[in-house]
């Protein structure tokens, strides 16, 4: 068990820069395996050069975030779809 792994709850603050709706209130679909679930339950790894959210089912990268000195980069390729209710 990787004790350094957190979950999407801890990513919410950083993703606020991108989304008007909080990421923990979104449901995502993994582009790798199709697993659907709340992003709050995604596995988060942030002891790294950037933040990575992974599918709790297949470990595929759902989304990433990097803070550069002058901007923040987001990548969402691993999310097939996001649902906001």
């Amino acid at each position: 068990m990787d004790e350094t792994m957190l979950d999407g709850n801890a990513a919410a603050g950083d993703f606020q820069e991108l989304f008007a709706v909080e990421v923990t209130q979104m449901v995502g679909v993994c582009a790798g395996c199709g697993l659907t679930g709340p992003l709050a339950e995604a596995h988060m790894f942030s002891l790294a050069p950037g933040l990575t959210l992974r599918c709790p089912g297949c470990d595929a990268v759902l989304a990433r975030l990097v803070h550069l000195p002058d901007r923040t980069l987001f990548e969402l390729r691993g999310l097939l779809r996001l649902e906001v209710s």
Partner: protein, 224 residues
């Protein structure tokens, strides 16, 4: 500022134009040193939404970056940077109903105590079960407040002398004895270190609780 245990304190924060918060949410605290070095950590809000003062409880971690300052150096009047409230998933309000099953590991008790305080103040008719895992009595946050209620505590490293309660990690047998049965469809909130959350969540599922009714928040062992 109020000491909760030898290692944890509760800090009252005065935030101009604080918009209010929901039970279970957290704030991100960022500290900046003179040389520009910054460190940031998340802390769950301890005070319930209706309280007049915003409070967080911080446990000082040995090799922490932020917690040693908050729970060691901070003095009334100090200024810090805060972002929040954050969190739309690991939250509860009375409208969601109950019964509640709140399972805390270590400092994971903070957001769950916030939920419990809200329940007591705003919806005491909703039943709740609070199960808290702590290493020792010295590590048990809010010990006095817990003793006034019906919380179940289990000590995993050093139970106090004369202790007749649980003295092991949370497992299926303990949950069977302590938790409402799955037929009551309790709203389960599990918070604590990652391995604690994973073990407890899987145990709840194995006992028949529906995954959709189990909400989890993982605290890092290295967070602090």
């Amino acid at each position: 500022m109020r000491a909760e245990t030898p290692r944890a304190i509760t800090l009252a924060l005065d935030v101009p134009e604080w918009p209010g918060h929901r039970a279970g949410q957290h704030v991100d605290v960022r500290l900046t040193a003179e040389d520009g070095y910054r460190a940031q950590r998340s802390y769950s809000i301890a005070s319930p939404p209706l309280a007049s003062v915003l409070e967080i409880t911080v446990e000082r971690l040995e090799d922490g970056e932020v917690s040693p300052w908050l729970a060691g150096e901070a003095q009334p009047g100090d200024e810090l940077e805060l972002r929040g409230p954050i969190g739309g998933y690991f939250v509860w309000e009375p409208a969601r109903g109950g019964p509640l099953l709140l399972i805390a590991g270590g400092s994971g008790l903070v957001p769950l105590m916030c939920i419990e305080r809200l329940r007591r103040a705003a919806a005491p008719e909703i039943a709740s079960t609070l199960l808290v895992s702590a290493r020792s009595q010295e590590d048990l946050i809010y010990a006095e407040e817990l003793s006034e209620g019906a919380a179940v505590v289990t000590y995993t490293r050093e139970p106090p002398p004369g202790w007749t309660g649980y003295a092991r990690r949370v497992d299926r047998a303990m949950l069977t004895e302590v938790a409402p049965p799955p037929e009551q469809r309790p709203h389960c909130y599990v918070c604590g270190p990652t391995s604690f959350v994973e073990v407890v969540a899987e145990a709840l599922v194995a006992l028949g609780h529906h995954r959709a009714l189990i909400k989890t928040e993982r605290f890092g062992a290295t967070g602090g």
